[in-house]
């Protein structure tokens, strides 16, 4: 069917579309607008677009990494900049590692027949449903008490110097501790999505490469990986989204220096006097990376979402 061949619809249909778009984007737009308003304007209710936009809320939020002093603020209480950097480090590293580990496992599950394959595939499917809240208790206990390296040993000191964290070098309180649980949490999902993409790679291509003398690893990295790029993009966005947005486990595992953005927002919300402008600005900063990804790669996201469910 030619691209220009669109069906003509009745005007009521377009009205419905407009309402739907307003409903889904409206709250986000509202937050965006409010983040540029002073608290006075938000509370007094000078509604609509009649206000003087200001970036003061963003300045307050990012006061700890701004190169210049702020006039309206004598003390920088909200260490948002640092949290933003923590979030970036944790989300990016865990996404990359999850993808690498996950696509190798997905490839093995699709292409090889080996002992324990069914068990591995069933386990992956089953642990997909484990909610973060269920992991809270064991992760809290293990990361604080068991996954520790003694302070005196060489490795412990090295890890503490490299990754930071507390004196007794447990995983809790370090970036790597949070990254580890995010990788584990996202792996089943990534494996599940990538499997459906790897199945579609024609086996003859791999065979041809093997006949030409490529090792299994070369086949995987040079033949299979380039062909499943859309799947990788989808998986990357979903993993990043979870690692970037997650609150509960991060709040249990982080210490003063490794707080992520969601923790900061929740902490500020529960205080008695909510500064709406600043909160909206922090919320907006947290929402911007996923929004950008969505606008850039919505096709991949939708393919990824439908890959599992529609094909069964």
């Amino acid at each position: 069917m030619a691209k220009s061949d669109y069906d003509r619809q009745n005007p009521a249909f377009y009205a419905l579309l407009a309402v739907l778009i307003f409903m889904s984007v409206g709250p986000i737009a509202l937050m965006f607008i409010n983040s540029f308003k002073l608290d006075v304007d938000i509370i007094s209710g000078t509604s609509g677009l009649l206000f003087l936009p200001t970036i003061q809320n963003y300045e307050t939020a990012l006061c700890d990494i701004l190169p210049y002093e702020l006039d309206h603020l004598d003390f920088c209480s909200l260490k948002f900049g640092g949290a933003f950097i923590n979030s970036l480090i944790i989300a990016l590293i865990s996404t990359i590692l999850t993808l690498v580990i996950g696509c190798m496992a997905a490839y093995a599950l699709v292409r090889f027949r080996f002992m324990g394959r069914d068990a591995a595939s069933l386990t992956t499917l089953m642990v997909r449903m484990v909610p973060p809240a269920v992991l809270l208790v064991p992760v809290f206990g293990l990361w604080n008490n068991e996954f520790c390296i003694d302070k005196a040993t060489l490795v412990g000191g090295f890890i503490r110097d490299t990754f930071g964290g507390r004196g007794d070098v447990c995983l809790a309180g370090t970036h790597s501790g949070i990254i580890l649980i995010y990788i584990a949490m996202n792996l089943p999902f990534v494996i599940w999505i990538l499997q459906s993409f790897i199945v579609q790679v024609p086996y003859s291509l791999e065979e041809a490469a093997r006949v030409d003398g490529a090792t299994p690893f070369q086949v995987f990295f040079k033949v299979v990986l380039p062909l499943i790029k859309p799947g990788l993009a989808a998986a990357a966005i979903f993993t990043f989204r979870i690692a970037w947005n997650e609150y509960l486990l991060a709040s249990a595992l982080s210490d003063r220096n490794t707080k992520t953005v969601p923790i900061l927002i929740v902490n500020n919300m529960s205080e008695f006097n909510v500064e709406w402008g600043v909160i909206m600005a922090t919320g907006m900063l947290l929402a911007i990376p996923p929004i950008i990804f969505t606008l850039l790669a919505s096709r991949q996201i939708i393919t990824g979402m439908t890959a599992g469910a529609v094909k069964g």
Binding site: D7, S24, V25, P27, I28, M31, I42, G45, S47, M104, A105, Y107, A108, F114, T123, M126, V127, R128, M129, P131, P132, A133, V134, L135, L136, V137, P138, V139, F140, G141, L142, N145, L180, A184, L187, P216, F220, R241, N245, Y247, P262, I265, V266, S270, I279, M280, G283, M284, L286, A287, I291, T294, S298, R299, I301, I302, M305, A309, V310, G312
Partner: protein, 303 residues
Amino acid sequence: MQRATLNRMTPYAFMAPAAIVMVIALLYPLLYMVWGSFRDWNPAQTIGETEFVGFKNYVTLFYDPAFRESLSVTLRFAVIVVGVEMVIGVGLALLLDRNIRGMSVLRTLFILPMMIAPVVVGLMWRYMYHPTVGTFNRFLKSIGLEGVDWLGQNALMSVIIADIWQWTPFIFILALAALQSLPRSALEAARIDGATPWQQIWHIKIPLMMPVLIVTCLLRLIDAFKVLEVILVMTEGGPGLSTEILALRISRTATEFRELGVAAAMSNYLLMLLLILTALMFAYTKIQEAREARLRTAAEEDL
């Protein structure tokens, strides 16, 4: 010989990193939790110092009215949310399954709500529900109506509305994909036989979409039990226990009441619930596959 060994080891080499991470950070913690749920455990102790109490935590929870309330809130939340989302999502998909300009833009805008952080969704809605400065009450008052006590008396409903806003697009997108992959021949045949649009929807489209819809519904149901941040930010479980879903209660039991053993037992209850749902989904896809295989062989025998 060496080459053969190498080839035999390949799948294990590919699986190893994932297996190691999942065993250390997922399976071991789950076993640790099961172990911990039989113990009287507070956060200051390591698990070795705790006392074994058998099924005490489970029994206490079973008779605990707060836990029962929380369980019932969770079930109500999940069932209502998924039910309403299925109806709206599938309805919209049937309505918007047309060849129109800008469909991809539309889909992009629709998936925005579920891509942004639950924490942010919570704060957006908390602002809109605010009794005095919030958007809804301001609107109601501007047209001369009484403001509604959104996060007070109607907290559960408000939380449900926020979740419906965020997740209906998920169902919509999956249902739309299912619709567009339906065999054209069946629809064509129905149209030629003179089926009305309603008949097409009820007798052709819905039954053909059923397998996808059921999987979607179960996926969404599993996710509905994971919701935590949105509610935490909006109401913190209150007022009273009216919106304290299980995930929130687990986190409060662990951090506020400092009873890790009880929290672990509660996690186990939640896990069992989800396990049943997952098993259902798994069994359903297996049955579906078996049925399709049978139909295929039957069709081949006919030839």
